[in-house]
Amino acid sequence: MHIPDGLMDPMVAGLGWVEFAAVAAVAIYLSGKKVRDKDLPRIAVLCAGIFVAQMLNFPVGGGTTGHLIGGALLAIMVGPVVAIVGMTVILLIQALMFGDGGLTAFGLNAVNMAVIAPLMGWGVYSMLKPLLSRGEAPSGKAFTPGEAFAIGAGAWASVFVAACACAAELAVSHAISDGAYGIAATVSVPAMLGYHAVIGIGEAIITVGVAAYVLTVSPGMFEAGAARPRASPGLRGVLSSRVAQATVAIIIAFALALPLYFIYSSEGADGLEKTMEDAAVSEGEPLLTSPFSYGETYFAALFAGMLGFVAVALAGLGLMKALRAGKTAE
């Protein structure tokens, strides 16, 4: 998902930089307070590991291959804030050493892979874990099946939502620049989402596998490992504040998409109409024409839908938590 220079509309790329700078500043500040000098080697080794892992291909059938992003894995091991800094370092090394990912596009790449991916990964994992995993892990395994699912779901969500963001950036770039930049929504959305829905599965499997191994062999590397809560009533307080943090993380990840929408709505209406005309002219599958019947509300629907879904899901989960807490208190 490393976007090269020249692909995105400059305004979108600029927005990416602004968002990244803001988030990174906060993340660096918070990490600076939390990370001690002696933690640095451990964190750097994890980053190095993820860097190396990112370079390995795994085939996903049909002759295509996929890559690990690793945002979820890193966030689960060192926490979301440090993971943001770590993923940024990894992306920097890739851009400077290999020219992988552009400079003007670095802001967007970082927002997608260094901010959204770890936040979503950690957020989903932290929310699902207390719900799904009860009691001790079966002997010989690193975690309960529930926790493994939470990790896998977090990993999948990290990849998928990052891909959503990327698709949205491409689509908006295309719309507001009259087709000079970006990739049209009708191509970018299905392509990115479809491909990464499958890739996400690979990421989930690998993330769970590596996390299991590291936790078994050397739990000290796991921030989560150190703080793994037993199912005991006294810790309910801790758990719910974790959930609150996770909620915040997920909301931030989605909130980053909002400015994109504002750009689009202020600049893009004309662009989209033009694209509609072009689409009608070129031969394409029926898929190309139907979404356009919603016209300019397409994007609105997309964004509103995402936010709405998330809000409802979070509210629902929060409610369930509260109910369960209330029940066990009796």
Binding site: I93, M97, Y181, G209, D278
Partner: protein, 251 residues
Amino acid sequence: MIVAHVRGHHTRPEEIDEHARASWLGGLDARAKIAGTVAFVVATALLTRTELVLASLMLSVSFAAVSRVPYRHLMRMYLGALPFILIASVSVFMFAGFWRGMDMWARTSSCVIALLVLASGTETFELFSGLRGLKVPRLVSTLLTLTYRYILILGDELGRMRTARRARGFRGGRSLLDSRGLRVISSTAGMVFVRAAGRAENGYEALRARGFRSDMRPMRTSRLKAADLAFMAWFACVSSLLVALQLGAVP
């Protein structure tokens, strides 16, 4: 040493710095190189007129040619970046016609090539120390140096484990569906992590024992020479000209 698959293509990290030494580009100050290349890339990203985009592409390619970075190496790296470029170009082509598609391809390629020349023509440590001039925070520059160092160590460990595995007859790990192979790979990956972590502690102490605090200092004095200024001036002129033409300031 690790053989890294960059988007499916092979590059060895040591090789990268080798090319830097081979090219005259390696002799320039890192900050000048970064500044010049960034100016060029930013300018190019703003271009949408076909003639300008093609001009930029020609400049980029001639930059690559003049830099004497090995052609094959550049091609390999470029091919790695190709998928995204192609998808974008083809989709633009589908929606907006041939020339627009060309524009997209030329513009992204021009940027990618310039960036690749910068990356290949500069030693990694120099790049990091060049970043220091941009006031990168201490946490980030320390992590950068350490992570890069450990990437090399991990590469060693990975190579050794792979050899050890093969010596015991393991040949799997090609597909996601090979579950036993997958478990072996996870174990290898995990093991590499854990062993590298041990060396990491030592490595960090060794750095601190020699006075390392948070960043690298280059061997040569960091004063800009005439060549650096010339490099920056050239790219500054070219970039501003391109942008001016794009914005219509100059007919």
